[in-house]
């Protein structure tokens, strides 16, 4: 019974972590049809922003939930102005440019923070269920993921800003004709996406030792979750995170964490093979 509880918590935690990891990329990809391969590095910078802020004496929750998203969002804004805005509509070129950015940020972080592992301890202590130790921080991550999805839904569905964003996502020309500059919408979207990446990196930072190359661990997972999720932002994110989180946790418990990861990746390959036209067909509907 205790084991079942632990497994269920772990399952939800895996799904929530995937939601967090992918949210930033999903916003940028869903709204702008841009694949930001520097996403992992944005998360890494969110982690470093948190750790630096905590070391300077900030409260850990303020550092994670406010400082890190702001810092990374601003970095994203600079990146958008300098590089990405020249490449709109050129999907593969953006992928390559952001890959270059990812290498650039890894190098930068190595020069600033050094090639060593840093970290902070988890701010919420664990507790025991029967014979098992449960990490209390997992509940925090699950909570944040749920709040994040709710907030995204509320903003997109309920506010005027969300309406404009969804309109620009479907028909950018029409939005422009109605007086909303797509350029500014894209800029704001990229800021939000980067801020979400920063938030995710900050929240996951206490769980992992942070090195400048930490981003690489996230990008592939985020990439496949978003691509497999398909066109609709929130539903797609939930469905694919749920599926992949479930599969990877089952294999993690049954065999080993490495096999869990491999199972996740294999599931992605199979899913994309089974739904190529279906996902593609949905995928570019807003654009064409």
């Amino acid at each position: 019974m205790d084991l079942v509880f632990v497994i269920i918590v772990e399952m939800f935690y895996a799904v929530a972590a995937l939601v967090l990891i992918s949210a930033g990329l999903a916003v940028v990809f869903g709204m702008m049809k841009i694949i930001n391969l520097a996403h992992g590095e944005f998360m890494m910078m969110g982690g470093y922003a948190t750790i630096t802020a905590v070391k300077l004496g900030a409260n850990v929750f303020i550092a994670m939930l406010i400082i890190a998203p702001l810092v990374v969002g601003l970095i994203g804004l600079v990146v958008e102005r300098l590089v990405i805005r020249h490449l709109y509509g050129r999907l593969v070129d953006t992928m390559l440019a952001t890959w270059g950015l990812s290498l650039f940020f890894i190098g930068l972080a190595t020069m600033i923070f050094g090639n060593t592992t840093t970290g902070i301890s988890t701010p919420i202590s664990g507790f025991t269920v029967g014979n098992y130790q449960v990490n209390g921080y997992n509940f925090f991550i699950i909570l944040v993921a749920i709040l994040l999805l709710g907030l995204m839904y509320a903003v997109l569905k309920g506010t005027r800003l969300g309406l404009i964003a969804r309109g620009a996502m479907q028909l950018p020309d029409m939005a422009a004709a109605l007086g909303y500059s797509p350029e500014r919408i894209y800029m704001a979207t990229f800021f939000c996406g980067s801020a979400l990446s920063g938030l995710a990196g900050a929240i996951l930072a206490p769980l992992v030792g942070l090195v400048p190359t930490s981003g690489g661990a996230y990008i592939a997972k985020a990439f496949i979750t978003v691509i497999a999720g398909g066109p609709s932002l929130i539903t797609g994110l939930m469905v694919s995170s749920g599926l992949f989180g479930f599969i990877s946790q089952i294999f993690t418990f049954a065999v080993s964490p490495v096999i869990g990861e491999v199972a996740l990746l294999l599931a992605a390959v199979v899913l994309l093979r089974l739904l190529p036209q279906g996902v593609t067909g949905k995928f570019f509907r807003g654009r064409m």
Partner: protein, 345 residues
């Protein structure tokens, strides 16, 4: 076809022979060997991406597979001839299976990128976790993140004690690259090659004309993987150790950067890009002021923004503008190759 063997091949041979002879006077053969190997690896992606329009994010998977196949086979067999052949065949067969799965499922650009990326990651994670003593192929332990050291390196066929090392190994690699280059040039001149370019330019049209696009793409993908596998086997011989890093995303990224910097849609471009950036990295590795990765990143971003066609096409068109007689400039540019199918389909 006839003009290829009559005109282009002798000219290529002459230039290559000159380069193979002159280069060791400027750069040590040890470094030069690895530049040649990188050139071959870049060439393999240049072929499938620049001429087939297949953007593979996992060319490193075939490179690593070639290197590991060679290492494992060499330990088990003890002579290098058969392992070399296997190192070409195994990645080719693997790529044929993977390619058939992708192309017969009509996956295109982004999805292709995701799947090749994911397959590379699976191999990387799997090999990385094989440190335990249970993971054995024949006599060879896979060794996980430690890699496999101490295998039989290249020897004269049939005489396992006559090693090909140092200068002879450099000439061996260079001549192999030349042979691969000539074979690929010939392939591109053949109807298969022209059809591959046709598929790159407009896949739907070629399919409607009644050609089997899927089979052709699969074969081309497999040829690219075979070349990458050969490069991997040579790299294993050069480094005398194989590690999971050969499969890493960083390695894949580097191959893509070589192609972009050198110039897509040209045969020389990826080789020049690979050797040039490889040498640059070697030079930068000797200083510690600026991080190497940072510079690689900046180079990639700047090229995508300002010179998306790459160096070789830029130099060629500059040459034409300055000296050439007014010939029709080829219309297919690197941008078209990279994002063409997005616009059409």
């Amino acid at each position: 076809m006839a003009s290829f063997w009559a005109k282009e091949a002798p000219a290529t041979l002459l230039v290559a022979a000159l380069l193979i002879w002159v280069m060791p006077m400027m750069i040590g053969t040890y470094t030069l060997t690895v530049l040649v190997i990188y050139g071959m690896l870049g060439f393999s992606l240049g072929l499938i991406w620049g001429f087939g329009g297949i953007l593979c994010f996992g060319q490193a998977a075939f490179f690593g597979l070639g290197a590991y196949t060679y290492a494992i086979a060499a330990i088990n067999i003890g002579d290098s001839t058969l392992p070399m052949l296997m190192a070409v065949l195994v990645p080719a067969v693997f790529a044929a299976l993977l390619g058939a799965m992708m192309f017969y499922g009509r996956l295109t650009d982004v999805y292709l990128g995701v799947i090749t990326l994911v397959v590379t990651l699976i191999l990387f994670k799997f090999i990385n976790s094989t440190a335990g003593p249970d993971y054995v192929v024949g006599k060879a332990r896979l060794g996980g993140f430690n890699g496999i050291p101490g295998f039989q390196t290249l020897n004269v066929p049939g005489r396992p004690d006559d090693y090909i090392l140092g200068d002879p190994f450099y000439y061996f690699c260079a001549v192999l690259l030349l042979i691969v280059y000539l074979l690929v040039s010939w392939l591109l001149k053949s109807s298969f090659g022209r059809m591959a370019i046709g598929i790159r330019e407009n896949e739907t049209r070629v399919a409607l004309m009644g050609y089997d696009v899927r089979a052709r793409k699969t074969v081309l993908f497999s040829i690219g993987a075979a070349i990458a596998g050969l490069a991997g086997a040579l790299f294993a011989n050069w480094g005398e150790i194989v590690t999971p890093n050969l499969f890493s995303l960083g390695q894949s990224a580097e191959i893509i950067i070589w192609c972009i910097v050198g110039g897509l849609g040209t045969r020389v471009g990826p080789i020049v890009g690979a050797a040039g950036l490889g040498y640059l990295k070697f030079l930068l590795g000797q200083q510690s002021m600026v991080d190497n990765t940072l510079l690689t990143g900046i180079i990639l971003v700047l090229f995508v923004l300002f010179l998306p066609k790459g160096l070789v096409p830029a130099v060629v068109s500059l040459w034409r503008i300055s000296f050439g007689q007014r010939r029709r400039i080829h219309k297919h540019g690197a941008r078209r190759i990279r994002s063409g199918s997005m616009g059409n389909g």
